[in-house]
């Protein structure tokens, strides 16, 4: 794993010192809120509905055991004993007091973490495939490149006052688990003539104007990554609209100018910049890569695993649902669901954090990941240890076998926390999960992604949910709109709205009708919801949603 250089450590310490002084000046009344707000946002501090919120970056979702332990300590010392893991591989603390935030940042710095550029009009936390370095289908680990991008973008003098936020995601696998097509820049590692490079996708995004990213360069040699990325951001920095924040993201710039014109401008700028990057970036990347060397995988008998798998149906169900193939023989990738039925998606108590940290230290080569699906991943577990890992997870309420199923819902904080929300999202997620747990059919339903946002900003990725739910305020009532057919993978697609929305009481039964329809019309149990929708289209789902007696009455 990457370890801070002296430069990094000094930089974060200095930044924390500055922020501590800024907080003091704000409390003493020497800074107005207008002056202070951009400063706190640059350091990840928001003011939400009921309290401040501190957003901490987990770069490319990778953490060590001691880092997770420290998050637990922070949650206990300065918050309410829990944290919320987010779709951008961050963790949010929902209840810090302003005075305590500098101490929290120092505690983070002690374990080489920070909250810099988790907000504001900057290049945000670079996200990556949460299976990076472990996935069987991977070309190469994308994290060295993500780390290079992080270092390049952190405090980059040209990019501190961008037209708007800027998000980069990287994947090293053909199976896109990093939602690269919904980012300002998505990088997909590919191989050409034996050399590694990237397909560069630009202008994807969600929000009120969702767009699937377009290919800007079909092959970018790895050594050109920084000058090319810098060219993209700097072209947008000049062109991007600062007059209207709804039109400021690069997706709109690409849309307004056309991908070909943007490509020409980027190539021109790239030609200029390329000569200024003297190759230090390549040398540096080589150095970073060493930090991401694979752990020392062991060879061990998998008999304990095989036996438990045969004998224990509960364990078997968890293995089948929550683990994935690892590239090292005898190993598995284990996902820890933070979606126990009825709980808040993405939340973990400090006890659970400590349990996960211990598991990583004892059985997981000291690595943890945060997935954009708001779960935690133990990327490297030898199968022989899985029965013990599972038993410990059970003791901590972390053994829910639902990865990829109906109850594995992405939900943004919504109006329970977020000041921008138009409706709540967490209770809807809780109710859907509880309902399908009662029905007991989620394993039969199979692969299904429900994603919920509490407003049009789409932090909950609803546009790319197989079933997307968007909470709105319609004449003073929480109302939920459904979209179907979204796809977050390499075959990315935006969901299509079904029609009028549903009240908070009616949304869960509505989702149930959609799923019942799918169960009735799928060709075989292994035809997924998404496949079925793509085959039959909207019509049967619409019929199920809007021709029931209650809607007939209302009409």
């Amino acid at each position: 794993m990457y370890s801070y250089s002296d430069f990094d450590a000094a930089f974060v310490t200095e930044r924390n010192r500055q922020f501590r002084a800024q907080v003091e000046r704000r409390i003493a009344g020497h800074l107005t809120e207008d002056e202070f707000k951009p400063l706190r946002l640059m350091n990840g501090l928001y003011l939400q509905l009921h309290a401040y919120m501190l957003r901490v970056a987990v770069p490319y979702g990778t953490m060590s055991g001691p880092q997770m332990h420290q998050l637990a300590t922070i949650a206990d010392t300065w918050d309410k004993g829990y944290g919320h893991f987010t779709t951008r591989q961050n963790i949010q603390f929902n209840w810090p007091r302003l005075r305590d935030v500098p101490d929290m940042l120092d505690a983070l710095a002690d374990v080489q973490m920070h909250a810099i550029q988790t907000s504001g009009n900057t290049i945000r936390n670079v996200t990556a495939d949460h299976f990076a370095g472990a996935a069987q289908d991977e070309l190469a680990d994308p994290r060295p490149v993500a780390e290079l991008l992080r270092q390049w973008s952190t405090d980059h003098p040209e990019f501190q006052f961008l037209p708007r936020k800027f998000k980069i995601a990287v994947t090293g696998s053909p199976n896109d688990r990093a939602v690269t097509r919904a980012h300002d820049i998505g990088l997909r590692m590919i191989e050409r003539d034996g050399a590694i490079g990237f397909e560069v996708i630009v202008g994807g995004g969600m929000g009120r104007t969702p767009m699937i990213g377009k290919v800007l360069r079909d092959f970018l040699p790895q050594e050109d990554l920084l000058p090319y990325t810098e060219a993209v951001v700097s072209v947008w920095n000049l062109l991007g609209r600062r007059d209207n924040k709804y039109k400021s993201r690069i997706k709109i710039t690409v849309h307004e100018h056309g991908i070909d014109a943007i490509r020409d401008m980027v190539e021109d700028r790239f030609t200029l910049l390329r000569s200024q990057f003297t190759g230090v970036d390549a040398t540096h990347l080589a150095r970073i890569s060493k930090d991401f060397a694979a752990p020392a995988f062991v060879t061990q008998d998998t008999a304990p695993f095989d036996l438990a798998y045969q004998r224990d149906p509960v364990f078997r169900s968890w293995v089948d649902t929550n683990t994935s193939s690892h590239r090292a023989p005898g190993y598995a990738i284990a996902q820890i669901s933070l979606k126990a039925h009825g709980q808040t998606p993405g939340d973990a108590t400090s006890d659970q954090m400590r349990a996960m940290a211990d598991l990583a230290e004892r059985f997981g080569h000291n690595e943890l990941r945060v997935s954009h699906e708001q779960n935690i991943v133990l990327p490297h577990v030898h199968k022989s240890n899985l029965p013990t890992v599972f038993a410990i997870l059970q003791q901590h309420g972390l053994a829910t076998a639902n990865i990829g199923l109906v109850s594995d819902i992405i939900a943004c904080p919504g109006m329970d926390y977020c000041a921008l929300a138009t409706a709540r999202s967490i209770p809807i997620a809780q109710e859907i999960a509880t309902r399908f747990d009662e029905l007991g059919n989620e394993h039969d339903i199979g692969d299904l992604k429900i994603k919920i946002s509490g407003c049009i900003n789409a932090c909950g990725h609803h546009h790319v949910g197989h079933i997307g739910i968007l909470g709105l305020d319609r004449a003073g009532t929480e109302t939920y709109q459904i979209t179907l057919g979204g796809d977050h993978t390499e075959t990315a697609a935006l969901g299509v709205r079904t029609g009028p929305g549903f009240s908070a009481e009616d949304i869960v039964p509505a989702v149930e009708r959609v799923i019942d329809t799918y169960l009735a019309i799928r060709t075989a149990p292994d035809e997924t919801f998404l496949h079925c929708y793509n085959r039959v289209g909207m019509v049967p789902f619409k019929a199920a949603l809007y021709t029931t007696s209650e809607h007939a009455d209302a009409a």
């Binding site: 003011l47 926390y417 305020d473």
Partner: protein, 96 residues
């Protein structure tokens, strides 16, 4: 005909705690909606909003619609603000 004025309270978040606060009759900030002063016409609303701007401990000051009796929030957002999140017993609901 002009629309009837909807009664309002002046509300904000506390600088140090972040908690929701309401302006009282004597220009103090209270954590409780029932202690808020209810403004009943536009001039009064503008006046109190303007006066409150100088308060260093209040962030994001604005007017929120309420009912005359209670007062009770008109919008569900204000109902959540005076209570706390629905997934945990945290925020104001825990203190009361």
């Amino acid at each position: 005909m002009a629309r009837a004025f909807v009664p309002k309270v002046v509300t904000a978040n506390d600088l140090l705690e972040g908690d929701v606060i309401y302006l009282t009759a004597d220009n103090q900030w209270s954590r409780h909606l029932h202690e808020a002063y209810i403004v009943t016409d536009t001039d009064q609303a503008d006046q109190r909003l303007a006066d409150s701007q100088g308060h260093a401990n209040a962030v994001g000051i604005y007017l929120a619609d309420v009912t005359l009796t209670g007062p009770e929030p008109v919008h569900f957002r204000e109902d959540f603000r005076r209570r706390g999140p629905s997934n945990y017993h945290h925020g104001k609901q825990a203190a009361s």
